[in-house]
């Protein structure tokens, strides 16, 4: 969509098309992947079983329909229908929170990972609530004042109008920015940090170096999420203090991540891990830019508006998008391997996960993503559609390379490669990228 309409990136981000595209990306891609990953990961982290797979399947169906409807309605700017589909999304998130909540209560011991995951789920519920409130505030209610409506409907209408009246106290752009920060920081960044404390040591054969630092990082990020939400919503002069809290959390997190990587026993860093680590390093400039934008006394000039768009773009596609692409290179081979080779292990020689896809294609994909990110950011800052189109094409090429690799991985699902046990092992050790 950005390749077809590159002018959107060059314009200010508060318009219906960008909001629709952002929700398509954030809810359609990022939240879908993260929900699936949570259903897989939480039982692993807690060494227990998922409360209900049936509820997870129901959530998947509800989520798909709701997100598709929301995006179309955002594009048309029909906020009442956004609210209706958003209620479906909220129902789905409620199912996720219930299902994972019931799983989390089985936890034998609490650690930074389970704390981070739990708080991200709480923020997810909060951000969906905030989004619904936003939709309610932007809707019109034709039935108001009529006496022939059902009592239930009358109560609902009164509630929605109360939300509308409450949110009218705040500046609309501030409400939207507060909602966006709640989602990106509270859900995606926090979840990525928590998950990294479990998965990075697992993949690199290492361990958390300082549990105290990990707890402190997640504590600062949680407090920072709340502080950023409140200060952005109220346009408070304390916004930089909230930004500093987030920056402190990010610095602690990256310090711990660096220590884990330095103390690893597995020397080779595959491209999936490299993509993930690079995305996490981008947290620092993103948080610094957010802090700079929070400084008081800045008029909303055209350039400041572009910086705000660049900040959001870097956070969504640089930090979260690239982190998820990197982690998908670890998760998808595992899931396909499990489906295709689980029954054959011990009877046949089964492939290693890193033998299921092309490392060259993966490296190209990572490079193209970074090139697309840099080009798009330059286009946003220059307010120029031509490089924005180039940036979007580079990102598309990166996704195409990812899709090709996913196809290679899925080939194992349809045609498993099984060798007799006495056959020589062709590739058993990870190749250095």
């Amino acid at each position: 969509m950005l390749a077809l309409r590159p002018g959107l990136l060059a314009a200010y981000h508060y318009n219906q098309e960008i909001i629709a595209i952002t929700h398509l990306l954030v809810l359609g891609f990022l939240l879908s992947v993260i929900s699936g990953a949570l259903y897989q990961l939480v039982p692993v982290v807690l060494e227990t079983r998922l409360h209900s797979e049936r509820l997870a399947r129901l959530h998947y169906g509800v989520h798909l329909i709701s997100v598709a409807g929301m995006v179309v309605m955002f594009w048309r700017w029909d906020m009442k229908q956004v609210g209706h589909f958003g209620s479906g999304l909220a129902f789905g998130v409620g199912l996720l929170a219930w299902n994972l909540g019931r799983t989390l209560v089985q936890a034998r011991r609490w650690n930074p990972v389970s704390f981070g995951v739990t708080s991200a789920i709480v923020w997810l519920v909060a951000v969906i609530g905030a989004g619904l409130a936003l939709a309610a505030a932007k809707s019109t209610y034709e039935l108001t004042g009529r006496t022939d409506v059902q009592p239930m409907l009358a109560v609902t209408l009164a509630g929605l109008e109360a939300v509308q009246t409450f949110l009218a106290r705040f500046e609309p752009l501030a409400v939207m920015h507060a909602h966006a920060h709640l989602g990106l920081l509270g859900v995606f960044v926090l979840l990525t940090c928590a998950v990294a404390f479990r998965l990075v040591p697992m993949f690199l054969l290492g361990e958390i170096q300082s549990p105290r630092r990990a707890w402190a990082a997640l504590g600062c990020l949680n407090a920072g999420t709340l502080a950023v939400f409140l200060t952005v919503l109220t346009q408070s002069p304390l916004k930089p203090a909230a930004g500093l809290l987030v920056l402190a959390g990010v610095t602690l997190y990256l310090g711990e991540l660096r220590a884990i990587v330095r103390a690893r026993r597995r020397l080779n860093l595959d491209w999936g891990i490299r993509m993930f680590l690079f995305s996490q390093a981008l947290l620092l400039p993103t948080a610094a830019l957010g802090l700079a934008l929070s400084l008081p006394g800045q008029p909303l000039t055209e350039f400041i508006g572009r910086l705000e768009t660049a900040y959001g773009f870097l956070a969504i596609l640089g930090v979260v998008g690239l982190a998820i692409l990197g982690m998908l290179y670890k998760i998808i081979p595992f899931l396909v391997w499990f489906a295709s080779y689980n029954h054959a292990i011990g009877r046949f020689r089964t492939p290693a996960l890193h033998d299921m896809y092309s490392h060259g294609l993966q490296a190209w994909g990572a490079g193209l993503w970074v090139a697309g990110l840099v080009t798009s950011l330059a286009a946003i800052l220059l307010g120029s559609p031509a490089p924005a189109r180039l940036g979007a094409f580079l990102l598309l090429l990166s996704l195409a390379s990812f899709a090709l690799n996913v196809a290679r991985i899925l080939r194992h699902f349809f045609r498993p490669r099984l060798q007799p046990l006495n056959a020589p092992q062709l590739t058993s050790t990870p190749r250095t990228p």
Binding site: V44, V45, L205, G346
Partner: protein
């Protein structure tokens, strides 16, 4: 009579797909005993507590050992104590897998 070397050879065919090394080279098999009833008792571990591959690996161990001629049964116990560490990997495998 069950050859113990045949059992180790069979276990060498079971690969941890994440690391790409077999369980014997990885040092995941802590002990192996053959009882008088030709049942094989194996004590093994996994690379990390809550390892998502634990059921696959134990299934692989059972299947591989049951395929060895003479084996009538297999009992696999997964323990986390002592915890596995990369120092338990055979030195030559460690070098080839790029592990310190």
């Amino acid at each position: 009579m069950i050859q113990e070397s045949a059992l180790w050879d069979a276990l060498s065919g079971v690969i941890d797909p994440e690391i790409g090394l077999n369980l014997v080279d990885l040092g995941l098999i802590y002990s192996l005993q053959v009882s008088a009833e030709d049942t094989v008792q194996i004590v093994m571990t996994v690379t990390t507590p809550g390892c998502p591959m634990v059921h696959s690996l134990t299934f692989g161990v059972e299947t591989a050992v049951l395929a060895v001629p003479g084996v009538r049964g297999v009992e696999v116990e997964v323990v986390l104590d002592p915890p596995w560490s990369p120092s338990m990997i055979r030195p030559e495998a460690r070098t080839s897998a790029g592990i310190l």
